[in-house]
Symmetry: C2
Subunit: 278 residues, 2 copies
Amino acid sequence: MSQSQGQLVIIGGAEDKEGDCKVLREFVRRAGGVNARIVVMTVATEMPREVGEDYIRVFERLGAENVRIVDTVHRDDASSPTYIEAVNKATGVFFTGGDQARITSILKDTELDAAIHQRYQEGIVIGGTSAGAAMMPDVMIVEGDSETNPRVNVVEMGPGMGFLPGIVVDQHFLQRGRLGRLLSALSQQPAVLGFGIDENTAVVVQDNKFEVVGEGAVTVVDVADIIHTNIDDILKDEAIAICGAKLHVLPDGYKFDLAARKPIVEADAPREVATTNA
Amino acid sequence: MSQSQGQLVIIGGAEDKEGDCKVLREFVRRAGGVNARIVVMTVATEMPREVGEDYIRVFERLGAENVRIVDTVHRDDASSPTYIEAVNKATGVFFTGGDQARITSILKDTELDAAIHQRYQEGIVIGGTSAGAAMMPDVMIVEGDSETNPRVNVVEMGPGMGFLPGIVVDQHFLQRGRLGRLLSALSQQPAVLGFGIDENTAVVVQDNKFEVVGEGAVTVVDVADIIHTNIDDILKDEAIAICGAKLHVLPDGYKFDLAARKPIVEADAPREVATTNA
């Protein structure tokens, strides 16, 4: 993992914007609280005005007054000095939901992309929800079927924005039944950690660790030490086998060490569940 | 696990009845093929005639001519000498889908239940789909939410029919996004193995091993060696944490050793996925 100074707030979609806004509150707090300067990137959505104004409203309600929308519709827009200056002054950059393929096709390897990465290295917070979460890794899920067993043709993968290498992110995870899709994605690329992030739930990454914030859970699938897979032997529409993956389900407050690939918990005494008559 | 001589065909629901009928074909073959004597138990469904006749049609199409319906509507029906004789002569007993609570409330601890277990010990095949799959363990999922993160109040558990102890079965697994529900069930009772069985897919149990047959996969979650759970500390509506579970996704043809709790595969050399630039 890269030794970035910045933080990531990777949200599984459908985060609360009306109630206590626990997840967005965490983003704003880490971006500097009432002194935050936030850029809302609406590149993923085809309704930038509505979506962008929703976020301005909630961020302002939480006390961040300095919020502006940057809406890049074409790659040319991503050279705009005004936009680059906005990013250069930002303490938080937030990517809305929409279509993750729009984020990479319009932004990737542009001057604005470089500016965002530069600011991230300098320590600001990059947030994203749904499509804005999917784009975080080096290789992302572009699109794919939910509620299916793992098969190669379930998912289309593509280059992501590269904020967090070595992982795959899926969002709306348990709400849309995406275990098969996440396993399909993991089996097709070098990443060994899959993050299945629930709705209204975030993975908050800092210093090569993450903490879970929100209503649901983050399902971490680790395929580093699997004992068997058939992925090299099957055709596109055949069922993937995976034997010996590790599974962690981490709700609010749980922490995970990305370098050690382990939840940070006191190891409990093994529960003798098999021999108990509960 | 008990040392039964019998076999189980545990089907995740929605098995093919029009095409090659791979899963039901397996049941009929193991029940004796064209010489099978099959009892179709319609206790789970409120449409016993329609559902039962569907199975008669498909079993007959596959060459099993000796098929009869046993429909127990009340517990009294489960003392019927005619029904008990039918079971005593059967080489295969098949439980249809419907509501698994009907199976246990009408059948459990009746003479007919005893007869079915006796025949199972003697070596016949017990099959079941959907509700007929859920009821197989000692403790079963009575009902519960799909597409949710694991919480205690997601599932209602109850006594099952006890054909395969030490496990929990969930069905329509990846098709209905039931990982959270299976984990909720597992965390609440002594079983350490959860079987998430996809639609048109079966776990075929014999000699303390199983083999997967069908279109989808069986997702096996093993919580025997977890390093942490919060299950003893949380209230009903709070999120369950599980750290260090094992996960196996097994498609058609894959085998699993229930005593060793391991897939039966040649151990591949560990793939150095993390260091490859694919």
